[in-house]
Amino acid sequence: MMTFIKLGWRNIWRHRRRSLVVISSISIGVFAMMFSAGFMNGMNVQMVENTISTSLGHIAVHRRGFQDNMKLEFNFSAGPKMLETIDKTPLVKAWAPRVKMQAMVRSSESSRGVMIVGIDPEREKNISKIYDYTRKEDGSRFISGRNTDEILISREMAEKLDLLLGDRLVVMLQDKDNEIIGTGLRVCGLYETPVNSYDRFVVFVGIEKLQAMNGLGKNISEISVLLHDKKDVDTVKDALIAGVNDRSLEILSWKDMAPSLVKSIRLFDTMMFIFFAIIFMTVVFSIANTLIMAIMERFHEIGVMKSIGTRPRRIFFMILFEAFSLGLIGVVAGIAAGMVLHVVLSYTGIDLSLYQESMRVWGTGSVIYPVIRFIDIVNAVIIVFFTTFIAALYPAVKAARIKPLEALHFI
């Protein structure tokens, strides 16, 4: 078999330029696949991370029903035992209580419906990036205490309401007794996250301030939990369900809370698959075309090999080996080039500031840092070898079936 491998290898380099064209088309295909997979993965990761870091956390504890209908009545009391359980659950990094409800904010110019979130500022800093997203460089401050007359709104909302730092606005909400309550608060800071939909609707106040406004007392709407590592989310969720052991509460992972995000990631994966299929359809034809040309050129030679006693299966193997060699060189070159670009781009990122607004709609941020997963490389290798096999099958069968006498007359 070694001789047929040697024969196949030398045959590849008989037409160096043609083989290099095929290898290039494979490696460009693999490179394009890695780049697009890296880019899409990067977008997905950033979309998920931004959603987790702004609103969801990795896991949340709610009163059962709150996730479907964020009404004030779905509140609960987080007793010391529950908080101790969360604190002691392995792999939990931090947690913070929140009160969430629908409200309306009104400036002298305009009014808007919002989601008002009451936070414990110190704990919130540990679990979300709202503090990081507060535009301190413009003079903004984060909520300074649990019961202050301060409100943190997004830059976009400030523009819509024509508000500046230090201006006052009125928050109107329905308290637990369904009474409409209006409270004046001062804008202490503006924030800007990469998630457009979030910025458009969410404002922050101190948790005790909101509890006083809506009459919840010490009760809260959710405990948001952050883990050291996102991959442990299902394990910790199960541990918390067992530890808290309260059937009136629901403990949800970010995937439970954002099913549309999970679906859009699946959609991206499907789109990638279609994209890969298109890329490798062209690769199939490129390899098949080259091999058919090579076989037509070597028609006489293969006929001679058969006339002196070479079995068809050895010819078949030789042609398959030639195709696999082209595929192997192409895939190695493509992965190498893809990895080099990946290393560079994972430092620099892909700056899409020109499309900042569109990227904010996706919630990805305007700089995408590509993420290559090991499975992407494995997929590239499998796809290349599979397509190479498909592409080589017809030429290899054709070569194996060459009739020696016909071929000897063919010069």
């Binding site: 001789t3 090999m305 006693g309 079995r311 000897l408």
Partner: protein, 228 residues
Amino acid sequence: MPIITINKLIKDYDLNGITVNAIRGIDMTIDKGEFTAIAGPSGSGKTTLLNIIGGLDYPTSGSVSVAERELGGMSSRELSDMRLNNIGFIFQAYNLIPVLSALENVEYILLLQGVNKKERQERAREMLREVGLEKETDRLPKDMSGGQQQRVAVARAIVSEPEIILADEPTANLDQKTGANLLDLMHDLNKKKNITFLFSTHDSMVMERAERLVQLTDGVITTDETRR
């Protein structure tokens, strides 16, 4: 003892709807160790006859036995094995494998026969030495002259020590002197190893050197002359 027996051999071709009678009834036997030339003008049927004897083509009717085996009943795989083990081929256009060196081309047949690497290389080197190419073992066909390539082809045909060598106009692409040298070489091998040589040719030099000359005209034997 005949090594090739041909009975009532007929071969017709269909050429664009017209039947061409390439061989029109040949009866012939060839004994082991003969050095026979089949001569005749182009289209006389000599290459067709060689192809049928070599199991590369099928007769329309009649029978051909090679080494006491009737070719008519053999599958393509059995014919392939017979070509590998019983017959050596020398072609007009040398037909070496271009990406293999002289040594590897000669080794190739032994490789197909499953001979181990060490023995393969020893026998191939020895064969190349016998045809006077011991210094050319690593050269590729494209780097050798026509005469050298045909010597490699002879070495390849003989290295497995087949019973029969079929040579289709082996000197046609060679100059007079190189052709004569090649004939000397084949004649020596015929005597030394008692291998049966069967040539097709229209080269007068080959006809003169043949120990038996079979003349074909329009698919029939017109003369069959033994000169031993």
